[in-house]
């Protein structure tokens, strides 16, 4: 080495002497990605671009639409339909909370207490998927019918007086009220809450409950301090899987609600299919998407589930 001390320092830092030997299967990950990526491009990216361009077009059905970068469509749509936006968020949030309240005890039961009934209850949770979404929602029309047993029971228990007072129902009716729409949403998205909750509860080591009890935690304290924090990943994914589709849903409002319960999904559907105002419909879709994305981001940040193992 001593003879090399006078040699000038190399210009390029540490240039490798030769190319590293080419590994076999270097491209395998990309080949495996290809089908999914193709699918995503054709059925997600392209339609998104198409919708984005539609949302900034002007024109009429007769003369055809042209891209004029008319962003005012967004403001007009928001100005006109913000009540439906708010209502959608509110209904979806109510349904999500109801799903959590109904789903958590059931998921807990299946995960920890069901024993040999576990599989049967799981099948019962999934069983509704064997019939069509529409049929099931229509069935709620019968369940909540004005002369049906549910309305009678609620009436005789004077619960309807209370919900009337709160504005959830109107005049001895449940059908065609906010309550009916929220009930429908809750029913339809309940399994999407239960399944992730169950998955995360089931992963909790039962010995942690024993350890908590051994360390002087009463059963309820054990739930608050151990079980619930550890089930947070399930709570977060369950609420997302419920809230996101519920916020964009229009079937429940269409079938169980009235013109006073129109959600943003109904507006978009009408704009697209009846009024044929494609730019407004597309703009509304993008606003909804952006709003949900923003809310979800804040929610995930806040819940701090990244920290959970």
């Amino acid at each position: 080495m001593s003879t090399l001390t006078e040699a000038p320092p190399p210009l390029a830092p540490a240039e490798p002497e030769g190319k590293p030997p080419r590994k076999r299967g270097r491209f395998t990950p990309y080949w495996l990605l290809l089908p999914g990526m193709l699918w995503l491009v054709v059925f997600f990216a392209l339609p998104m671009i198409y919708q984005a361009s539609t949302s900034v077009q002007t024109g009429s059905l007769e003369d055809g639409y042209n891209v004029t970068w008319h962003f005012a469509t967004y403001w007009d749509a928001l100005a006109e339909y913000w009540p439906q936006f708010l209502r959608s968020v509110f209904y979806a949030a109510a349904a999500t909370v109801l799903c959590l309240l109904l789903g958590y005890p059931l998921a807990y039961l299946i995960a920890f207490r069901a024993g040999r009934w576990r599989n049967l209850i799981m099948i019962l949770v999934i069983a509704p998927f064997f019939t069509s979404f529409l049929i099931r929602t229509l069935a709620w029309k019968t369940i909540l019918a004005d002369n049906g047993p549910v309305v009678h029971a609620l009436n005789s228990l004077h619960i309807l007086d209370l919900t009337d007072f709160l504005g959830w129902t109107a005049g001895d009716r449940v059908l065609a009220t906010p309550l009916a729409v929220v009930c429908g949403l809750t029913y339809n998205f309940l399994p999407f809450m239960i399944l992730p909750l169950y998955t995360s509860l089931e992963r909790i080591d039962g010995r942690l409950h024993e350890a908590a009890g051994d360390l002087y935690a009463k059963p309820w304290t054990t739930f608050r301090k151990v079980t619930f924090p550890l089930s947070m990943p399930g709570v977060v994914s369950g609420t997302l899987l419920t809230f996101i589709p519920a916020a964009g849903d229009y079937v429940n409002s269409e079938l169980l609600g009235s013109t006073d319960t129109r959600m943003i999904g109904n507006v978009i559907q009408t704009q697209f299919l009846r009024i044929l105002d494609y730019p407004t419909a597309a703009a509304l879709s993008f606003i909804l998407m952006a709003a949900i994305l923003a809310m979800v981001t804040i929610y995930i940040r806040r819940s701090g589930t990244e920290d959970l193992v």
Binding site: D205, L208, E210, A211, A212, L215, Y216, K225, V226, L230
Partner: protein, 384 residues
Amino acid sequence: MKTTPDNSGDVRLSGISKTYDNGFTAVQPLDLTVPEGSFFALLGASGCGKTTTLRMIAGLEDPSSGTVCLGDQDVTHLPPYKRPVNTVFQSYALFPHLDIFENVAFGLRRRGLKSVKKQVEEMLDLVQLGEQARKKPHQLSGGQQQRVAVARALINHPRVLLLDEPLGALDLKLRRQMQLELKRIQTEVGITFVHVTHDQEEAMTMADTVAVMNAGRVEQLGSPSALYENPNTTFVANFLGTSNLIEAEVDTKNGDDLVLRAGGGKLVLPQARCSGPTTAGAKVLVGVRPEKIALTHADDAGTVPEGRNRVTGKIADASFIGVSTQYVIDTPVCDEFEVYVQNVERDGRLVPGADVVLHWSPAHTFGLDAAQDIGAGTEEEAAA
């Protein structure tokens, strides 16, 4: 939580048993007293009921019969969170969402203590984990997690600390280290430890008193040396170390000793060391530990001192393992007589095929009732 000083802090189990819904009886009715401040080990193979017994003391399992008393307090029907008892679980069961500090503080907080910082820090120092307080359990090694589990239980100053195979998941070297560590902590805090293990060496190293359990029963209870030197059943003889068992018949009594006939020869056994029948003609099993036996080549048979039990045989196998050489010897009284000889002065003639005389002091002989399975406990030890 009673804080009044109580002299009788013994754990007393009376007639306690556990039969599961499926009809399996894990623990037969059992009486056991663990003296206050002692290090007590429940030793047995898996499925012998030792863990179930521990869980009944902790309150994690309801006994089918009997009572659990801590001192003068009957805790049989108290839920775990009301018992002044803490457990170190086999898998540690640390709370994964809490850091080490909060794991250790858990019990104090549940009892409504507000300022826990000082106590937790002291406890973490005791188990040498002061630096790790803000780490999550999964960031620690197995040995560190184990120490957190001990700290989390000990900080509550339980009347009894229950340890359920706490060292099972550690590698051999760490296990040895933790055995000493646990023993040190126990001496330091003076709390009663009840330790469940399947590792006979671990039980003997750490415990003052060992209860050997088999099939839901306590086979024998005593100090490690008493159990080892004078086992009362074939299970204990075989499970705790290795024993050579010889089928024999009581011939006569000679003072305090029994003279036995075995394979044409005579053996002497102090009557006090025989847990089997001692009447003439009774069948007994004569036992002796492999390291108590001396080997002499047949040519030097005359040099064997008088008054020692002797058996002749032929070396079938010899394996050199460093500190000692383990011989298997074919004798008329026992096919595979095991003898461990310290490698101090090795006799070059003691090779497979050599005729030898095995001899040992009658004081190292023990007698067992022959009406039991001579092989009991050998399988379990191999499995454990």
